[in-house]
């Protein structure tokens, strides 16, 4: 019993109408938009369907990296404060309500779930939204498939029980002036009260963005800083999202270091990468004959891309499932050609 009614958390919860939704059939997916690979996600809101704050968020390591009972308490208290302001006419939603959209409006999702009497699972909504985006040409893999960008990529480590209090600043965040103890108050112009708020605001950035303006509270005063975003700030390990990123290429790689590129006379800006794992499926399906230790230096003669730092990422971003490409590979001192055929995930066929 982690939140008995007479505990601080229980008292906070008792001031809310609590509702748990486990079927997504009738959810307005535009109003309640979030990375569907969060198996738990929360909204603090009012009866007019205006959202005060979110709670949840994740990283690649785990779904619960940012879930914490103390930070939940902070969120619940903030929600009550904002609700009090709203009732007095002192709070307004900063964003207009999006046009409603429901799972039944995605025909392929209907075929996969409703028509077969199956549950509309959260992740299926995300998957089928992306399938429809792919069909209508609006899919941006960097934005729609690489979701939940990681704050640690830009040097921000949060004191998780305290919500948006910075525990440690490094890298780009430190260079921008962020300091331990700062409290993040807005992200790219959006007021943020929880990690989920901030991560969602970060996720909404255009993937070509090269900076983000952040307001922090320090010593009782707010100040704005501008954090320069590194290339591929949105890139996270998505291997756990087995149903998300087509095409399937059945190998993992890592970028070569600058020194490794110099040793091999490869351009510094190339996406040359070393194969570190080959999936059994590659042999079973005869999709390629790459081996661990191979260095891929080009794909169909292309050796660089502004968004890709490895050949695998280039393949995922720039090729289609079913394409056959020629890889230029360094193996045993020789430069050889290795054909690779990618596949489409079966549920998308």
């Amino acid at each position: 019993m982690l939140s008995p009614a007479n505990s601080a958390r229980g008292k906070l919860l008792s001031q809310y109408v609590c509702v748990r939704v486990i079927r997504m059939d009738d959810v307005d997916v535009n109003l309640f938009e979030y990375d569907r690979n969060n198996p738990l996600y929360f909204f603090l809101m009012n009866a007019d369907e205006q959202i005060y704050a979110r709670y949840g968020g994740r990283d690649s390591a785990a779904v619960d990296s940012y879930l914490n009972l103390d930070s939940l308490e902070l969120a619940l208290a903030k929600g009550l404060e904002l609700h009090g302001q709203w009732r007095k006419g002192e709070w307004k939603s900063a964003t207009p309500r999006p046009a409603p959209r429901f799972p039944r409006e995605y025909p392929l999702l209907v075929q996969r779930t409703f028509a077969q009497g199956q549950c509309v699972e959260c992740h299926l909504i995300g998957d089928y939204q992306n399938i429809h985006r792919q069909l209508d040409g609006t899919l941006d893999k960097r934005k729609h498939l690489w979701r939940s960008p990681d704050f640690k990529v830009i040097g921000i480590t949060l004191d998780i029980p305290k919500g948006l209090v910075v525990k440690q600043a490094a890298g780009e965040a430190a260079a921008a002036g962020l300091m331990a103890g700062d409290v993040i108050r807005s992200w790219n112009g959006a007021r943020v009260w929880t990690f989920a708020d901030a991560q969602y605001a970060h996720d909404m950035l255009d993937r070509a963005a090269r900076e983000v303006k952040v307001v922090v509270e320090r010593g009782g005063a707010e100040r704005e800083i501008t954090i320069q975003l590194p290339l591929r700030w949105w890139l996270t390990d998505v291997r756990w999202r087995q149903s998300s990123v087509d095409p399937r290429v059945y190998f993992d790689d890592r970028p070569l270091t600058e020194a490794e590129k110099r040793e091999r006379n490869l351009p510094a800006e190339s996406f040359a990468s070393m194969v570190r794992r080959v999936a059994d499926m590659a042999r079973l399906m005869k999709t390629h004959e790459l081996a661990v230790g191979d260095v891929i230096v080009a794909v169909n003669g292309v050796d660089r891309d502004p968004d890709a730092n490895t050949a695998e990422l280039y393949l995922r971003l720039r090729t289609k499932p079913g394409d056959t490409v020629q890889l230029d590979v360094l193996r045993g001192g020789e430069r050889i050609k290795v054909p690779l055929r990618s596949l489409q995930m079966s549920f998308r066929k």
């Binding site: 009614a5 229980g10 109408v17 509702v19 748990r20 939704v21 486990i22 959810v27 699972e121």
Partner: protein, 54 residues
């Protein structure tokens, strides 16, 4: 979803028993529409949980 059980453990503050008042004394609704009605009637805010149960 291999981390799901960890998430459930972390969020055990929200028991899985649905509908009726749970052992913590917190009443959880299961209908979003009902929650809107109750929030309108009581003036309370809403704490909405989406939980993906495989």
């Amino acid at each position: 979803m291999s981390h799901l059980s960890r998430a459930f453990a972390a969020l055990a503050v929200f028991p899985l028993m649905m509908g009726a008042q749970d052992s913590d004394g917190i009443h959880w609704l299961t209908s979003y529409r009902e929650a809107l009605k109750e929030a309108k009637a009581t003036g309370k805010p809403i704490f909405l949980e989406y939980r993906c149960e495989p």
